[in-house]
Subunit: 153 residues, 2 copies
DNA sequence: GTGAATATTTAAGCGCGATGAAATTTATCA
DNA sequence: TGATAAATTTCATCGCGCTTAAATATTCAC
């Protein structure tokens, strides 16, 4: 009754509607902070995965080291990031989030969560358990795929 | 057994992992096209909701009319959009996607679909029916919330 | 029909993202 | 040790997005 093909369609539709909404909201929030998308992406990377060298940011954004360095410059200037010397390799710098930068990301996540909360409340109570279970499976499957992809590279 | 709170958490976790993956992929695709985010967003708006006047684009991006006009200029120059006079109001212009522009968006959607397909295949077959049903509910609920929000404004 | 409102465009100017080229400092290794 | 490689920065330059201010064309209201 629910073929693989139908599941793919259901996922495709969900991804479309979810992306349209969450992306739009995210772009607006980021614009409101006064930061650019790559700047905010960098803050998020540091928030979720901790401090790193400039070279990781360069790779993440897929730009030249010069571009990344200048972008970090502005973020340091505006108080979102700090540079520190890497004790193991004095050529490299460790880029870290300041409290200010961490707060900005946390606020963005809070905005996103407000939306998902209203979505949860809007679901028919009879469906909540099934939907919750399904999301757990999807989240787990996505994590596994991300791991697989990481190992490929 | 699955409280509202647990559902909210499941949704929150899903949003986090989904956004991290799809956002990253989307940003990379858009960068690869040589277009900026607002440019590509505009192409997508036209793809999904059809032609519109410049004023709609202005509202969508939340910028001045001047900014939108100039952005459309570049998209017309590069062959993604066309301007036509609005027959009902000769002050206004109808902005439409060219075949070239439509193809670009279609390719981006195809990239996203490849990911959701691999995700569907990676799910335990025993869970597929339940997940499919749940996604249908979620998609419907999200569409309803979007409608409600549209009416509020 | 005349004046106000609307839709869009043009122009000047700023900051950011990005690049290539060159410089600096520190690590590696033969 | 001494050449080479690596991590980052600085500089000049360009295009884009955005704004404000001003211009143009058209519609609407009285």
């Amino acid at each position: 009754m629910f073929s693989t093909h139908e599941l793919q369609n259901a996922l495709k539709d969900w991804a479309e509607v979810f992306m349209a909404r969450s992306m739009h909201e995210w772009v607006r929030y980021v614009r409101g902070t006064g930061l650019s998308m790559p700047q905010f992406s960098t803050l998020m990377r540091l928030y979720y995965r901790g401090q790193c060298g400039l070279s990781e940011i360069t790779a993440e954004l897929d730009v030249t080291a010069a571009a990344a360095s200048q972008m970090v410059d502005r973020l340091v200037r505006d108080g979102y990031l700090a540079r520190a010397e890497d004790p193991n390799d004095r050529r490299a710098k460790q880029i870290t989030l300041t409290d200010h930068g961490r707060q900005l990301v946390a606020d963005g996540i809070a905005v996103r969560n407000r939306w998902t909360e209203s979505l949860a409340e809007h679901l028919d109570p009879a469906e909540r358990a099934a939907v919750g279970q399904a999301l757990r499976h999807l989240t787990e499957a996505t994590r596994q795929l991300n791991e697989m992809r990481k190992n490929e590279r």
